[in-house]
């Protein structure tokens, strides 16, 4: 069902656009509210970065960040203030309905549904993973960004690569909303492996970013013979649990031999990252070979904050002549801007829901997949 009476009206809408979408994401550790005008970011509010949490001194414990119910109203007000908009100015409302923790998803979804119904706005439920996939489409307030064109003919078919704490996926995208999962993790995600290796090195949680920092200082004097996962699996799936266990045993034996962490930690972190990057780039290379004709590579997820991964994936994309769409840093980990973007590309389609009956029917789907 389209919200438009006729195709002509729809075309008119897409041409004039300037639609303002309010989007909400509460799928995981962060309460996030954003407002975009088409693809232009007018406001991007994360609970952990607002006044709400000043009392923590910039450092917000997980329990406070996850307090979506307490955060959401304030984040919404802050986003509207920053965007300098009134309720009347909002054209469409969007929210994540999955994947994520059920109890967390409910908060954002119900807030958005209620807002849409009370204010008579159309509502678009968004798959969080599609948000990650399209996160590179954001433009700044001046209209500049990673991808200035939305032209389907230039982008699709595309491959997607999502690497986060929960997901490690390769996706074939034939169009907006037409996705096929080619590969996924069978156990731990890449980001989880980063944090768990960080924990083994006593970097606390989340230790992944510290692993990345230490790796930068590697002097490559030592090899630990860590395994590159799933090399001969014959498919595009990932597995990082074996690498995690290999790291555990290697670290224990290094410590038992009486050597201090300082002597080997930098090289160890580097080699661990190398194994993760090789696993990802090799599978991605296979995916590119299996899908000749793809034009671009859309990536997303917090693990792309690791510069080595971002660079090596970019190099592979360029080698195969693919346009490499790496989101800006602030849009790599969870945020509502990407939810806005995913809503935007569907703003003229059947995903748009109108009226109390249709909107209130939407329920959270905690294990939603991008190909659902």
């Amino acid at each position: 069902m389209s919200i438009f009476q006729s195709q002509k009206e729809e075309l008119e809408f897409m041409k004039n656009k300037n639609i303002k979408i309010l989007a909400i994401d509460t799928s995981c550790d962060e309460t996030s509210v954003a407002v975009l005008e088409d693809r232009k970011v007018l406001a991007n509010v994360l609970a952990s970065q607002t006044e709400l949490h000043k009392k923590w001194g910039g450092v917000v414990p997980m329990v406070a960040r996850r307090a979506h119910q307490e955060n959401i109203g304030k984040c919404y007000l802050e986003a509207m203030k920053r965007a300098r908009l009134k309720i009347d100015d909002i054209d469409v409302v969007a929210a994540t309905y999955g994947p994520g923790l059920a109890i967390d998803l409910e908060v954002g979804l119900q807030f958005a549904q209620k807002f849409a119904i009370e204010n008579k706005k159309p509502f678009i439920p968004v798959n969080h993973m599609e948000g990650h996939l399209l996160s590179s489409l954001a433009l700044n307030s001046k209209g500049h960004g990673v991808s200035e064109s939305l032209d389907k003919k230039q982008l699709f078919p595309a491959l997607g690569l999502l690497v986060s704490g929960k997901h490690t996926e390769i996706i074939l995208a034939k169009d907006y909303g037409n996705y096929q999962k080619l590969g996924k993790t069978l156990d731990d995600a890449a980001g989880e492996a980063f944090d768990k290796v960080g924990r083994m090195l006593n970097f606390g949680y989340p230790g992944g970013p510290i692993v990345s920092e230490f790796a930068k200082k590697a002097n490559h004097k030592e090899s630990f013979e860590l395994p590159v996962p799933m090399r001969s699996s014959g498919n595009l799936d990932f597995s990082f649990s074996g690498l995690k266990t290999a790291c555990l045993y290697k670290i224990n034996s290094l410590r038992e031999s009486g050597r201090s962490d300082k002597e080997w930690a930098n090289d160890f972190c580097w080699e661990f990252i190398e194994c993760v990057v090789l696993s990802i780039t090799e599978k991605l290379g296979e995916a590119i070979n299996q899908n000749p004709g793809v034009k671009s590579l859309l990536v997303g997820g917090g693990v792309f904050n690791n510069e080595t991964l971002a660079r090596r994936v970019g190099r592979l994309a360029r080698k195969h002549g693919l346009k490499y769409l790496l989101p800006e840093k602030k849009y790599r980990s969870d945020n509502a801007v990407m939810i806005d973007l995913a809503a935007y590309v569907h703003a003229a389609g059947s995903e748009v829901l109108i009226g109390k009956k249709a909107i209130s029917k939407v329920d959270r789907v905690p294990r939603l997949s991008i190909s659902d």
């Binding site: 995981c28 001194g57 910039g58 450092v59 414990p61 997980m62 329990v63 996850r66 307090a67 994947p99 994520g100 923790l101 059920a102 109890i103 986060s164 704490g165 929960k166 996924k184 993790t185 069978l186 156990d187 731990d188 995600a189 980001g191 989880e192 944090d195 768990k196 924990r199 083994m200 006593n202 970097f203 606390g204 949680y205 989340p206 230790g207 510290i210 920092e213 230490f214 930068k216 200082k217 649990s241 074996g242 995690k244 266990t245 290999a246 555990l248 045993y249 201090s260 962490d261 300082k262 930690a265 905690p366 294990r367």
Partner: protein, 368 residues
């Protein structure tokens, strides 16, 4: 401005004394470290820190880091948490800057606007001796003014710095061209936490000694661990018909907990891929075969900070007949989990995973 050359042996003590004398009167010194030339003032001296800010110019609220002589000195000026403690023990002295919550005892401008403080112990005896003898932290920011290159030689520094600012420097300790090492790795320990698990674990272990072992296996591969999980689920396949069924899993990283849950899912005829729930905290899978239906809720408390957060995950909503709730790291919050389980009338078993070798695990299943 005075320059002293650091040469082997002869002048070392005199240089240290000159540096101390300078720092004592709010003076500013340029000194070598294992990364690059740093600029130092007494970090407790407001006039000296103001002078340093004037020198660096346009810092826009960026905090300064300080050099201390040892962990003990650090603990007088910042809260050293477990993670920071680990870094002091394992990585310092060395090119690592540890950010901790400051105690507000240094001159204004040294700590960040959020009250955090960057501390390092340089792996360079000269500055360690100066700090130790002064008895107070010395700023350890690089000696270049804002937007200029990190200086590895005094010549480069002099070339890059305007006269007006050079006039603010009181003493330069010249050790010649330094190796071009990268700046220190900055680790913000206030963003992290080391999960506290001791209390819960004790309770769990105590419980095990009172329970009886109903199944045990030494598995030699991930497949065998999965098969064992499938067997355990089959043994209890009728349990969820009457009451919620809880499996409290305990075992270190990589011990096979998630593999075991894959086996549970197999016996519940769940076709979906079971992956680690560490990030989502709870993954729910619907099962439905014959007259059996409900959810397998796969939970992981590894990332969970405390009981309040555990409760917020809504895990107790799954304590309904029909459902199977498998909780990884259940030992972390065992008291809370046991209370909820009992209150709901659920059946609970405990599964203990131990590493024997890289591929071998000992798994024991306990029942009250």
């Amino acid at each position: 401005m005075k320059t002293l050359r650091l040469e082997k042996g002869k002048s070392y003590k005199r240089i240290i004394q000159e540096a101390i004398n300078t720092l004592e009167v709010s003076g500013m010194i340029v000194y070598p470290t294992e990364t690059c030339y740093g600029i130092g003032v007494d970090a407790t001296d407001q006039a000296a820190v103001d002078k340093l800010m004037k020198y660096k110019s346009r810092r826009e609220g960026k905090p300064l880091s300080v050099a201390v002589s040892d962990r003990e000195m650090a603990s007088k000026y910042a809260e050293i948490n477990d993670l920071a403690d680990n870094l002091y023990k394992n990585y310092l002295p060395g090119p690592v800057t540890v950010i901790s919550k400051g105690l507000g005892k240094l001159a204004k401008g040294v700590e960040s606007e959020f009250g955090t403080l960057g501390i390092r112990i340089p792996d360079y005896p000269l500055i360690l001796d100066i700090v130790s003898k002064l008895g107070r932290p010395v700023t350890s920011t690089s000696a270049n003014i804002s937007y200029k290159n990190r200086p590895y030689s005094i010549e480069a520094l002099l070339k890059d710095t305007p006269e007006k600012q050079l006039d603010l420097i009181d003493l330069i300790i010249d050790a010649g061209e330094l190796p071009h090492n990268e700046p220190s790795t900055v680790v913000d320990t206030t963003l992290n936490n080391l999960n506290v698990m001791r209390a819960g674990s004790l309770k769990f272990n105590q419980n095990l000694t009172e329970d009886k072992i109903i199944f045990a296996a030494n598995t030699k591969s991930v497949q065998e661990t999965e098969n064992f999980g499938a067997m355990v689920m089959l043994k209890f396949i009728d349990t969820p018909l009457k009451q919620p069924f809880v499996l409290a899993l305990k075992g270190e990283l990589g011990a096979g907990k998630t593999q075991f849950v894959k086996g549970l899912a197999k016996s519940l005829k769940i076709a979906d891929q079971i992956s680690s729930p560490t990030y989502t905290l709870i993954d729910e899978y619907k099962y439905n075969f014959g007259h059996r239906k409900g959810y397998l809720a796969h939970m992981d408390t590894w990332r969970v900070d405390g009981v309040e957060e555990l409760i917020r995950t809504g895990y107790s909503d799954y304590l309904q007949p029909g459902n199977v709730l498998a909780i990884e790291w259940a030992d972390k919050f065992f008291a809370e989990i046991e209370n909820q389980t009992k209150a709901s009338g659920a059946k609970m078993i405990k599964v203990d995973f131990e590493h024997i070798s890289e591929s071998e695990r000992r798994i024991r299943v306990y029942e009250e």
